[in-house]
Structure formats: structure tokens, C-alpha cells
Assembly symmetry: C2
Homo-oligomer: 325 residues x 2
Amino acid sequence: MENQPVIKPYVIGLDLGGTNSVFGIVDSRGEIKATTAIKTQAYEKVEDYVNASVDALQIIIDQVGGIQNIKAMGIGAPNGNYYNGTIEFAPNLIWGHSGIVPLADLFKEKLGIPVALTNDANAAAIGEMTYGVARGMKNFIMLTLGTGVGSGIVVNGQLVYGCDGFAGELGHVIMVRENGRPCGCGRKGCLEAYCSATGVARTAREFLDTTDEPSLLRDMKAEDITSLDVSIAAGKGDKLAKRVYEFTGEMLGEACANFAAFSSPEAFIFFGGLTKAGDLLMKPIVKSYREHALKIFRDKPQFLISGLNGSSAAVLGASAVGWEI
Amino acid sequence: MENQPVIKPYVIGLDLGGTNSVFGIVDSRGEIKATTAIKTQAYEKVEDYVNASVDALQIIIDQVGGIQNIKAMGIGAPNGNYYNGTIEFAPNLIWGHSGIVPLADLFKEKLGIPVALTNDANAAAIGEMTYGVARGMKNFIMLTLGTGVGSGIVVNGQLVYGCDGFAGELGHVIMVRENGRPCGCGRKGCLEAYCSATGVARTAREFLDTTDEPSLLRDMKAEDITSLDVSIAAGKGDKLAKRVYEFTGEMLGEACANFAAFSSPEAFIFFGGLTKAGDLLMKPIVKSYREHALKIFRDKPQFLISGLNGSSAAVLGASAVGWEI
């Protein structure tokens, strides 16, 4: 029995958000065995953030029988660089906005297990490959439709990181070249400026401003409208709200037609808040994709919504990065 | 000495064009040892084409000491599918336009060596990796600017073939969404409709039509103008002709900015007739790329012209596919 390999049944996942840092201990089937969380912004120095994380983690590590049961840790973080295990100039992180933070190494030192880090959209793609609807797929594109538009691209079964670890910024392809909407990145006309949750709210305000069409959304203050309000109004049959989702889906479909010319994926997988709109969004995406794609790609890809449970999807994605080490 | 591995020092490359099929026997350093050619269109049946090819090949195979010195054969062909070794519905091939031709298998049977096939732009990318300016690069994008615009994308050191073998059709990303030029693919506004050799000639005709600006190109019949004429006129200082190349380069730079968001390559490599214009084309590409790229990608990629000798580049590219088997 001496040479029996030691099986470590769990990985730690950390979904590092601007507000909360959520930790989960996950088994190989994607079942979350224990979770904990800390406030990301309560710490000015990254060392204090890591110490607080490890204190919180210790409790749930003990619950699963100790660190010897844990193979590795995966982190999904904004501006995460997989190659270096660093977070680089992340605007929303007090301890990470002004430089390069070697977060993977800091956790590795404290925990004594391998740690890998990638950006949140890449983590979602790896999560989908490990536990979700992309199991067995070698070529697919994940689009995360949240506050921004992120992406994780898988080619030949591998995440595309590019020469610098930052590939897969499909939220920032230019979709509108004339009079495009300003984007948070400082340029104009990016996909993200139209097809993120905030983009959907902007589209709704534009439609309200430029037409006299009656709409349930007129009962709200324009600046308070969110993509969820648009989705609820559309669900009640509001025509203007429906057109907002049609417009959003059309642009996503056009974008996917261009992406297909790049990597000919077997599926586009959508993730994040906007996907709650379901067919309201997905039907226009598929219709527009078919209208715009090159003939050889027209009927090939599937259009899927993430198979990971919403609230825990980000932790699962991050944990999946741990299995890849 | 019995177990000494047999070293086969050569591969065959076939550059299969609509008019000519050019064969070369190439060593591992990219030196062409012997060449031959047949007319592609002289044969109505693919079996006759293959027989004629093998007859022509036999002579140069003998020149390098026989088939036992040849490791494999690589083919670069329009509509070539790497996964299946087939040519699929190639509009310009008499024996290939109406179906799926298993060309790799046909050559393999006759020659008794492994044969692999890919499209011409992918072959160019593999050639550049094997013998050219992309040696040692793991992430780059090759754009071939000829009659059409083709592309070969390398990610993590591998060609991107996608789920079906047809990935990398960057000539058919949509660049102009309103009133775009009709493209040969049946859609409108594709990169190829603007930035191919024929696209350059179209741009010149448009500029001549829509301005009164004097130009050396006005001495020609509009319908006879080629990209070479535009290049020659620009070389003589013709302002309108220069603007044609600026326009072309600007659009290529914008396209590359979007491609960088996909795979963050370390280089964009340009190949084909249009690159003969040199700085006339390359300077506007780089300028426009820097204006349009997302900040993190702005200063990263190199912009290079293919390092393979023009007339033999396609054969070299095809032969390089043979080394990959």
C-alpha cells in the first residue's frame, strides 16, 4: 500500500469581485462542499487581504479534512494574468489598481498548494468545460454578459491566452465605426458599450428618448432603468422593451458571425445576468448570426446558455482553474 | 547499425492554384532541391490530375534519390480541409467545384507516403513558422493579400482549424456594416472586398470616380487598373494612388485591432502581392492599428512582411505542412 498515490479530492475556487471575494471548496463533479467570503475592499494592502482570506479559508479547509485533501487553488479575477499569476492594474481593486500584484504566489506561500489565476471570463470558460455544457468540446467561445462583456475562447481544447496572457477581450471589438457609443475603455463603438447589462439600459434610454412609443419603462426615472427592468417589462409584453433585447441580440449575432470566421467554434455559450432574459435575447442572436455568418459557418455552432448554477458559477469557474494545474 | 533510424531529408510541397500546380522537393532548412509543375485545369477528373502529378513528380523524386528520401507531402489548396484531407466545393477547380475530393488520400495511395492538406493561407502560416519570420513564435496571425484576403492563425504554436477545419477566414469579417461593398462570398462589407488586390483596384476606381483630383491613373481605362498600377503610380508620387494605399492600410489596421482582442498575437505577418507596396501599405497599417487597438494591445504586436521568397513561398508553405505530419 505504500506506493498508492495520494488522491486529493478537492480544489479551492476564489471568485474575486470588486465587492466580495467568495471562496468555495469543490469536488471533481462540481459539487461545492463548503463556502466562505470576505469583503474585497476592506483591506488596503494585498498582504492583509491574503491573510484575511487564509483565516476565513482555514475554517472550511478543516471542514473537508485539512489541506492534505486539497489539490490546488484557482482564482478568477479582473485583469488576471494567467501566465504570471498576477492581477495587473485592476481599476476596481483598492490594493490592485496601481500596479502588478503577484496574487497566485502570495496564496501559494501561505497555503502550500499550487495556485493558478486567470480573468473571470476565462475562468467561466474553464468552468463550463469542466462541469458545464462545454464538457467534451474542443472549440467554443464563452461570452459573459454582465456589467461588461467578457470572453473566454477555447481552441483545440486550450484557453487562448495570446502572447501576453490577455487574449480574449471580445467585449472590445469595434461594432459601430461611425458615431459609436463611448466605452469604458476610452474608445468608441465597442460591443460592450451595447451588449452589456449597462449597454442594454443605455439602449432602453435611447429608445425612450428618440420615440414617443408608450412603454412601461416610462413610469421609471430614465437614469434608474436597469437591464432587469427592461427584461421584466419585456416579459409583460412591452414592445419597446422587447425591441431593446432584439437590438442587443442582433448585435451579438453579428459579432458572433465575425468570431466564427476566426475560430469556427462548435458553440457560443452565454453567461451572466443578461442571459436571464432567455429567448428574448437568444432568439435574435441566432437569427442575426444566421443572417450575417459566412455560409460555411451558418448552421454549425450551437447557441447555449451556461449550464452552471448562477450564484455559484463564478466560484465553480475559478475552482476549475485549479484542476488544470 | 541495424537500429539506426532512417532519416528522410525531404518533403514534397504542392501549391495547388486555379491555373498551375507547382511541386517542390524541400529540405528542412527550406531549400528547394527540385521543382516541377502541371496545369491544374487540363484534367476533368481528379484521378487524371493525380496521375499526371505523380508522373511529373517521379522525375524530381528520382533526382533526390527516390521516394525513400521523402518523409511526407504537404498540399496547400483552396477550400482545403486539414481534418479530412479534402478539397470541398472549390469554385475555381474543374474537378473540385461540385463536391468533396479526398485529394490527400489519392496522393497517399499513389506515392506511399503520408500526405496532409490545408488551405493556402494556413500553409503560408505554417511555412512562415517553419522557414520564415515566424520561427519560434507561438501566437501570430498571417494575412495573405492576393486576389482575395486569406488568413492563417496560430495560437499556442498550433494552427487554428476550429470545429470543422475551416477556421481562419478573416477576409470575411464584416468591416463596413452600412452600404458595404458586395463581396464574392455573397455578403457585403467584408475585409476582402476592400483589402485584396482587387479591392485596391476598386478603391482606386472609386476615388477616380468621386473626385476630380489629377492622377496618373486617369491615363488608363478604369476597368484595366490593377493594384500593381496603383502601386507604381504611388511610387511616382501620385497623391490619389497614395491615398488608395492609405485607405487600404487604415482598414487593415482597424481589422488587426479587432483580431488582437481575439488572440493577442506577437506579430501580424503579411504575405502576397499587395505587400510589394512596402511602407506605402505597412505604415498606414501600423498607424491605424495603434489608433484603434485596445490600450493593452497597442504596442505589443510586430507588423512584418513574409520572410519567404515570393515566387516559391507557396510551395515552401505547402511543403512545411509535410513536416507537421
